[in-house]
Every structure is written in C-alpha cells, then in structure tokens.
C-alpha cells in the first residue's frame, strides 16, 4: 500500500462519482497531487499500516505549523497498472528512519490523471487530527525519532 498526503476534502468518493461515471476525475483532486520535477512523493505502508501515523507525521513536521493532516491510501497495483515508474528515492523528512519508506512516482499528465482515478475508485482517505498530531510530535521527540528542535518549532502559540 502507498500513502500520499493530501487535503482530504478534495477526495470524497461521493463528489468524485459523477466524474468517474464519465471516466473523468475532479480537477481539484488532480491538483492536489503536487509534483516537483514530475515526481510525486509517496510513502510505503507496512501491511498492518502500523507506520501510517509515523509517515504522516514525517511529512507534517516539515510544514509551517501543526495541523490536521489528510492523506489517501492506495494499492501499489494502481501504480503498476498505470505504467508509473516508482523510484527508490529516500525521503528528506526530519524522521531519518521513516525516510526509508519514501518513494517517488514519475508522472506525466496522463499518468497523474490515471493515478487520481485509481485512488478515487479504489483507494481511501483519512486525516490525522491536529490534537493527535501534537501528541505524535511529542512522542517522536521523546522516542528520538524526531530532533528536539521540531517540538520547539511547533510550540503552541
């Protein structure tokens, strides 16, 4: 399974259904798959998904403030079926161990639409709430998964 952080409210299945019926996708969902150099950052989930919160936290701590963090989860077969190449590029988050789960997907415009379609059809979405994220950051620092300065950066204003 693969995970990509998104804003969840762009990925509701009921909203996407009229588009999927016409073999199309909502532009807002595609827009949420922001690439850099045609690469889309994704993360591998373990079979039991026990690393899900850690992966979402790894992405979230790179942002400007602690917030709710949305994500989509989808099967890696969606990537294979769309002919998308997956590159073993190690992540650059403050969680060094989590970075091993990072991958990049090499996308074209058509492949991005195919991926969005597969996620909306067969994937699922969720959010880690802000209150939980704050707990995760504290735990991460206590357990040595995150550097101490991360906690300082996110001190409640």
């Amino acid at each position: 399974m693969l995970l990509r952080t998104v804003r969840q409210n762009r990925w509701y299945k009921a909203d996407a259904a009229p588009f999927l019926e016409k073999d199309d996708v909502p532009a807002d969902s595609v827009n949420d798959l922001i690439t850099t150099g045609n690469l889309l950052s994704v993360w591998i989930l373990t079979d039991d998904r026990s690393n899900l919160e850690r992966v979402v936290r790894a992405v979230a701590v790179g942002r400007s403030h602690i917030d709710n963090a949305g994500y989509v989860v989808f099967d890696s077969t969606a990537v294979e079926n769309a002919g998308i190449e997956m590159l073993e590029n190690i992540g650059e988050s403050p969680d060094a161990e989590a970075n091993a789960w990072h991958r990049d997907l090499s996308l074209s415009g058509n492949k991005m639409v195919a991926l969005a379609k597969a996620i909306l059809r067969d994937g699922e979405s969720g959010q880690v709430l802000k209150v939980r994220m704050r707990e995760l950051v504290d735990e991460g620092v206590q357990q040595g998964h995150l550097p101490a300065d991360v906690q300082k950066k996110f001190q409640k204003k």
């Binding site: 804003r7 509701y12 009921a14 709710n68 963090a69 969720g126 709430l129 204003k157």
Partner: protein
C-alpha cells in the same frame, strides 16, 4: 502604534464605524449580555445544566452582542474573494490565513461577527470558507469563544461538504466535549461517508475529556 497593532490594510473605515456606532441599542445589548454573564459566570452561561440547550444559549449570546460592522463585513468579503485564488494545503500558511489572522487580532469579536454575517448572507467559495473555519476555530481567545462556536455550528449544516469538513475540524481544534452532541446530530444527516468517519474520530477525541 506598534506594527502588531496596526490595522490590517483597508480597514480604517471599519474603525471609523466603530467610533460612530456606540449607540443606545448596542450599549443596552452589552449591558444585558454583561448582566447575564455576571449572573452565571462564563461557565454557567455556556454549560448544559438542563435549563436550556447548550447550543441555544451560545447562539443567543452572540447575536445579542451587537450587529456586524458593515465595513468590516465588506473587508471580510474582499478577503474571502481574494482567497479564492489560493490553493490551500494542510499545515501551510497562506496569504489568506495571514490576513485573516491580522483582522481577527485587530478587531477581535467584531471580526467574528462580520465573518458570521458574511457566511450567513452570501454564497461563499467552499475552499476559502473551509480554510477560514480552521483558523477561526484555532484562534485562542476565550472572549470570542461563543462567536467561534456559533460560526462552526451553523457551518456544520452547510450544503458544501468542504465547509462541513472545516466545521468538524474546527470543533476538533476547539477540543470542547460540549460539541459531541452537535457532531452526533450532524452525523445523522451527513451524506459523505468520509465526513461521518471524521465525526466519529473527533467525537472519540472529545470523549477523552469526559
């Protein structure tokens, strides 16, 4: 005046309106509100003690305070319209959020009244409203608690799922167990499966305080 207390750009007319509108009606409303709060204390004023429904009490208290400043409503409208050109991401500040916070800091309760007025009277861009609700909820200020609560509560029943998402997340940010009942009620009419799951998660979070 320090930089932090400077009015946000273009809001001077709203300040002027404030100076002019300190009439008898406003004064009377403030006296009534003050007396009610003084009689029970903020906790009693808000708490569901069986006298009246909690959400009813909160709704009445903020509408009683005074009418929204029309110039501030206009500024809020402008800000929200500008926000429609932005792409919002979780955990990332935007020009919209920075300007919104500046207005909230400068005008306090009046800004929340203007936002409530704007959201209730106009067809707004769902992405911007959803983003605004997250920031409104997160504004850590006891004196505007009722205003923020009311904005979130009415947004729970928006026709836009994205706005409802912002309202549910707003209640999660406020982290007050009194929202459990409201969220459970909203869930009964929620057609988006992901939002029903989100409500369950937020309720679980809020139940930890009980």
């Amino acid at each position: 005046m320090s930089a932090s207390t400077n009015p946000p750009e273009g809001t001077l007319r709203a300040d002027k309106w404030n100076r002019i509108h300190t009439g008898a009606g406003t004064l009377m409303a403030r006296i009534v509100l003050g007396a009610a709060m003084a009689a029970t204390g903020p906790d009693g004023f808000l708490s569901p003690l069986g006298r009246r429904r909690n959400d009813q009490i909160i709704a009445e208290s903020s509408t009683l305070a005074h009418e929204a400043n029309p110039y501030l409503v206009q500024e809020i409208r402008k800000l929200f319209e500008q926000g429609a050109h932005e792409f919002f991401q979780d955990g990332v500040e935007s020009n919209f959020s920075r300007k919104l916070l500046a207005i909230l800091r400068h005008y306090g309760r009046e800004a929340f009244q203007a936002i409530a007025e704007y959201l209730s009277s106009e067809s707004t861009q769902p992405d911007v409203t959803s983003e605004a609700l997250r920031w409104v909820a997160d504004y850590n200020d006891k004196s505007t608690f009722n205003n923020r609560w009311n904005i979130l509560h009415s947004s729970l029943y928006s026709s836009s799922p994205r706005v409802r998402d912002g309202a549910i997340l707003g209640f999660a940010a406020i982290d007050d167990p009194r929202a459990i009942k409201l969220l459970r009620e909203a869930k009964t009419s929620e057609r988006i499966a992901e939002l029903r799951v989100l409500i369950d998660h937020v309720v679980m979070q809020l139940e930890r305080h009980r």
